[in-house]
Symmetry: C2
Subunit: 181 residues, 2 copies
């Protein structure tokens, strides 16, 4: 299938630290109609599922500005220039939680929302995680750690307490939950 629309212009509406709001103009190849679409342009993201030797998951409860509330999720962030997804996962894990992993592997790569975001989302599973440092938070990061047994994750999702779609998608492709049912 070939696209009916082709992009004829990109214009940055405003640059933020890690994302920019972009106005993309597309033109229909037959009717020549033009339409504008909002695009959130950023580098790729990483999410990391940190599991301790005791089988706990290191969740974080983080203030999220779009909804002005705290949300339970897993650590993650935008991949810095020159970083691999693995390096970004280990960095974000340590910055946001103070935990260090014994092993880490990327289990998949998703589109968080291809209608709006240019980014891909890499999902990493970190095992043998132990707290070695204090979290190193940026001023706009307000985060509280919340350890939960891996066996409780399906229940937290079913009860609506864990309701961040990208965290749920990350658990889903990790294969971790299948062994918990």
């Amino acid at each position: 299938m070939k696209p009916d629309w082709q992009r004829i212009n990109c214009e940055t509406l405003r640059d933020y630290r890690v994302v920019s709001a972009r106005d993309d103009t597309y033109q229909h190849i037959k009717s020549l109609e033009t339409r504008h679409f909002l695009v959130c342009d950023s580098a790729d993201w990483v999410l990391v599922i940190p599991v301790t030797p005791d089988g706990d998951v290191v969740l974080i409860r983080q203030f999220r500005f779009a909804i002005a509330d705290f949300v339970l999720e897993i650590p993650g962030g935008v991949i810095d220039p020159g970083e691999t997804p693995e390096q970004a996962a280990l960095r974000e894990l340590q910055e946001e939680t103070g935990y260090v992993a014994q092993s880490l592997n990327v289990c998949g790569s998703l589109f968080p929302n291809p209608a709006l975001n240019t980014a891909r989302l890499h999902v990493a599973l970190a095992r043998g995680c132990e707290r070695r440092f204090q979290p190193n938070l940026e001023a706009a990061e307000q985060i509280q750690l919340e350890l939960q047994p891996l066996s409780r994750i399906p229940g937290l999702i079913a009860e609506g307490q864990l309701c961040h779609a990208l965290t749920i998608a990350a658990f889903s492709i990790s294969g971790l939950l299948q062994t918990q049912r």
Copy 2:
């Protein structure tokens, strides 16, 4: 935990059909530092998992403008004013696929991305779906139907062919996949 930041201003950067790019100014309650955040403001969304009497899932391959490519996903869209999530699910299902459901129930409500989007995402499971109409697509919707047996969904996810995070989160909370393993 109380937020360290409070919102002191909202300014629309640009309005699109179903979403607006918004600049939110937050101020730190102690340092009084101000920061700007990009917010994609919209009504809530719905995603629907349509299952036929034969146990096929009605997937769609849709052109997504942020990545300028086609993505395999499930039907859905923004809830219209006055609609319930159930009504929006049935409408989007019929518009995008021409299918009608015998029964539909909402299985949960998620945040698609609370760092960026104000919307909640309602997930509905539609059973007994049968094709009764032609899809009724809007000019900017370019969609091809792709029926897949429910038993193939975990494989499509594992192989990276189904890589839309919100679709994967929807399948995850539907409980449909557990019975397929």
